[in-house]
Symmetry: C2
Subunit: 122 residues, 2 copies
DNA sequence: ACTACATATGAGCAGATGTTCATGTATCTT
DNA sequence: AAGATACATGAACATCTGCTCATATGTAGT
């Protein structure tokens, strides 16, 4: 019985290469940075938002026009714009009833473009 | 009664700028490309996978070492490696009992790095 | 052949995500 | 002031995600 449970009792650490692990741990990105990068990518990880960002990278548009272009409801678009705003990927200005959105910086557009290029070449 | 429901009945298309919409639609990325790009970003959109890719970009590692470095269970790591394999972001080779993983191409590493740089500068 | 080891995978579950529907808020028109 | 318009938001819902736990698969050593 004692011999049978050996695997679990001795712990899972058996095949590790300590030197390699130690080195890799040093080179590992800080947890917070990983989390923030992941959150950025997560926002880009939705086809609706990709489309929105892609057209907003070309031109400033109002909510209604965004909805018309990507063929989604105004509500859905508005919800997603909130996500994009939260991630600071877009900026907006109000002009009376309308809200005009555009991409926040070229960095974002570049990242997006690079992703698109990657899937094209695959 | 008929007047009251006007908003819904006439449809949501009232504020659109037809010329702008038509132009933006032409410039809109094809749906499949948007979907594929989103799927790529979605894979990058998880802190565990970001960490894994980041260390695999520096060095080829076996599953057990990856688990030790990022401090997650072997099972969790294995599941995520499956996702990364599915997206062709990593490659692997077997050597006896061990499986050695590394990043698939520099493209992926560059994309990752760009994301990290973006959150650092924010 | 038997046991230990390294990795892969299926089931199950809690939490996150993206849409719709209904409604709220602010602005414009009359 | 009242209604219409443009947008935002809360609730509800179905679906997806990422983990754990248990177990399966394949390899090596004895």
């Amino acid at each position: 019985m004692a011999t049978k449970k050996k695997t679990r009792e001795t712990c899972e650490v058996l095949c590790e290469h300590p030197a390699t692990v130690r080195l890799a741990k040093k080179e590992l990105i800080p947890a917070r940075q990983a989390q923030q990068a992941a959150e950025l990518f997560k926002v880009l990880g939705d086809a609706t938002r990709v489309k929105m960002l892609q057209i907003l990278a070309k031109k400033e548009l109002c909510v209604c026009d965004i909805a018309a272009v990507i063929e989604m409801s105004q509500s859905a678009v508005s919800h997603q714009l909130r996500v994009l705003r939260g991630a600071r990927l877009v900026k907006y200005r109000r002009d009376g009833k309308m809200a005009w959105y555009s991409i926040n910086d070229n960095h974002v557009a570049a990242l997006l473009r690079q992703g698109v290029v990657h899937v094209r070449h695959k």
